[in-house]
C-alpha cells in the first residue's frame, strides 16, 4: 500500500510540473494536451468502472460525457444572453454551480438509459446503449437555440472563487486536482462493499443472484455513478476547450473511450488514464503526419485486441514479470 501511494504522489507531482516544463521548453501546447488527456482519462475511468469492474459493455457512455458538457454550455449561453433556462433557471458562469448540476443531470440521464437497458444483457445491451446515446446526439443537434450542429461557444471558462481561470496553468491545475480526486474516489469505490458486489456480479451474476443480490439494482446504481463521472469530465472538458458540441456524444466518441480503457488495461485503476494518454498522444502525433491517421490507429487497435489480453498494463506487467 505504501509504495502505491508513493508512486501516485510522484506521478501527481510530475503532472503538476507540466505547465512549468511547457513554459521552459516553449511547447505551449503541452499544457493543453496533457490537460485534455487527463479529462479523457477521467471519462475513460468512469467507463472502466462499469466495464472493467462491472462487466457491462456500454457503448453509449459518450452521451453522459456530452450531457455534462452541455450543462456548462447551456448555463453559459443563458448567462451570456441574460436569459433563463425554461424561463426560470438563470444562467451562470460559476463552476461551483455548473459542475454539480452537470453531475446530477448526467446521473439522471444515466438512470433513464440504465433503467431501460439493464433489463437486457449481452449483445442487446451493447446495441441499446449505443442507440440511446445516438438518440441524445440527434436531440442536441436539433436544439437550434443551443447551437444545433455547431454547438455552443463558451467564451469564458467558468470561474472559481479566488482563482484566475483565464490563466492556462491555473485551469490545468484545477483539472489535475479534479482528476486526482476522482482517481481517489474510484479507488475507494472499488474497495467498498458496493465495489465488491459489482466485482462479484461481473464474475458470476448467477452466483450473486443465488446469494440474494438483486443484480439489476446494483448494476443500475453503478451505471448512474459511472454516468455522473462522465458528466463531470464532460463539464470539465467544455470548460477546458471552451466549446460544447454534439460531437462530444457521438457514438464514435464512445468507441474512443472504450479504446482508451482497453489500451490501458481493463479493470485497473490507472489503466484508463494511461490508455487515454496513449491514445491521445498517438492521435495527435499521427495527425501531424497524415490526415488519414485513423487508419493506423484502427490497425493498431485491431492488432492489440486480437493479440493481447489486458492491454498495455498487462503488457507492462508481463515485461516486469520477465525482468524480475
Amino acid at each position: 500500500m505504501k509504495r502505491e501511494t508513493l508512486g501516485l504522489l510522484v506521478v501527481f507531482i510530475l503532472l503538476a510540473l507540466v505547465p512549468f516544463v511547457a513554459a521552459l521548453t516553449g511547447q505551449a501546447s503541452w499544457t493543453r494536451l496533457v490537460g485534455q488527456a487527463l479529462i479523457y482519462g477521467m471519462a475513460a475511468a468512469s467507463l472502466n468502472f462499469i466495464l472493467g469492474y462491472g462487466g457491462m459493455v456500454s457503448f453509449g457512455h459518450a452521451a453522459f460525457f456530452g450531457i455534462g458538457g452541455y450543462v456548462v454550455g447551456v448555463f453559459y449561453h443563458h448567462f451570456d444572453a441574460g436569459t433563463a433556462f425554461l424561463g426560470i433557471i438563470p444562467g451562470t458562469d460559476q463552476m461551483l454551480i455548473t459542475l454539480p448540476v452537470a453531475i446530477v443531470v448526467a446521473g439522471l440521464a444515466a438512470a433513464l438509459v440504465g433503467a431501460l437497458s439493464l433489463r437486457t444483457g449481452g449483445v442487446q445491451f451493447i446495441m441499446i446503449t449505443l442507440a440511446f446515446a445516438q438518440m441524445f446526439f440527434f436531440l442536441f443537434i436539433s436544439l437550434k437555440t443551443y447551437g444545433g450542429e455547431d454547438g455552443i461557444m463558451v467564451r469564458r471558462t467558468n470561474s472559481l472563487p479566488g482563482l484566475n481561470m483565464k490563466d492556462k496553468a491555473t485551469l490545468y491545475w484545477v483539472v489535475l486536482v479534479f482528476a486526482a480526486a476522482y482517481y481517489l474516489f474510484l479507488r475507494r469505490l472499488v474497495q467498498s462493499s458496493f465495489g465488491q458486489i459489482i466485482a462479484g456480479i461481473r464474475q458470476n451474476e448467477r452466483r450473486m443472484a443465488a446469494m440474494g443480490i438483486s443484480t439489476y439494482r446494483y448494476k443500475l446504481y453503478a451505471f448512474v455513478l459511472s454516468g455522473m463521472g462522465a458528466g463531470l469530465s464532460g463539464a470539465l472538458m467544455v470548460n477546458f476547450l471552451r466549446f460544447a458540441s454534439p460531437d462530444m456524444m457521438h457514438w464514435s466518441r464512445s468507441g474512443e473511450l472504450m479504446v482508451m480503457v482497453i489500451l490501458g488495461g481493463v479493470g485497473t485503476l490507472a489503466g484508463p488514464f494511461i490508455g487515454a494518454g496513449a491514445l491521445f498522444t498517438l492521435e495527435t502525433t499521427l495527425a501531424r503526419f497524415t490526415e488519414h491517421w485513423m487508419l493506423p490507429v484502427g490497425i493498431l487497435l485491431l492488432v492489440v485486441v486480437l493479440t493481447t489480453k489486458g492491454g498495455l498494463m498487462a503488457l507492462v506487467a508481463k515485461l516486469k514479470g520477465r525482468a524480475e
Binding site: G200, Q203, N204, G212
Partner: protein, 249 residues
Amino acid sequence: MSRVLDIAGLVKTFGGLTATDHVSLTVDTGEIHALIGPNGAGKSTLINQICGELMPNEGHIHLAGRDVTRLAPADRVALGLGRTFQITSLLDDMSVRENLGLAIQVREGGNFRIFDRAARRSEVWAEADQILAESALGARAAVKVADLAHGEKKQLELLMALSQRPRVLLLDEPMAGLGHVESQQMIEALRDARQECAMLLVEHDMEAVFALADRISVLVYGRIIATGTADEIRTNPAVREAYLGEEDA
C-alpha cells in the same frame, strides 16, 4: 413439525413436452428430503422452478408459509431459500476466503455503501475465518477458486450456502464428480449441517441418499411416483422398475 418448503401441483411444459407433471412435495423443519430419479426425469427443471429461474405453468410453491411462486430468485433467498449448484458456480478470480467473505457480506447487508472499505468489515471476516477454520478448507483459505480441486469447490459452495443461514437448502447433486474420500467428507459436512437447516437433496449417489435422507421422493418423467422412508422406497416395486439397470441400490 412445520413445513418449510411446500410445493403443490407444479406443472411446467415446453411446447409439447411436459417436464414437470403435477409435482407435489414438502420439506419439514429439520428434515433432509432426498429427490432421486433416473436421468432426464426433470430434476433440473424442478430445481430451477423452486429457485425462481424458471416460472411454472401451474401450481404453487410456498416457503415458510409465503407464496413465492412468482418471486424473483433474489427475493426467495431473502425469505430463506439457499442452493448449491450442480456445476459449481463461484467467483473464480477471488480466493476461498474472499468468496465466503462476500457471501457473509451479502447476508449482512449495507452493500450500497460506496465509502466504506469492505476489507475493514471485521465481523464479516471474523465469521469467515471461523467457518473456514472449522471446515476442511481451512488450509486453502488464500487459494483462488479457479485453482481449487473439484471437491473443494463443492465444499466451498456448501459453506457459502450455509453462511446465508437459509431455512431450507436446495442441494443440486453435491456428490457429482467427487471421489470416494471427498464423498465421505461431503456426507459428513451435510450431516453436520442438518442442525442448521432443512434440506432438499437432489442426488444420484445412493450411498449418500440412504445415509442422510429422512424421506425420499422418486421423480420419473416429471412425476413423483413414490415418497417415503428409505426402506419403503427400497422395496417399492414401481421404483425398482424405474431404476432397473440404472443404479446400485
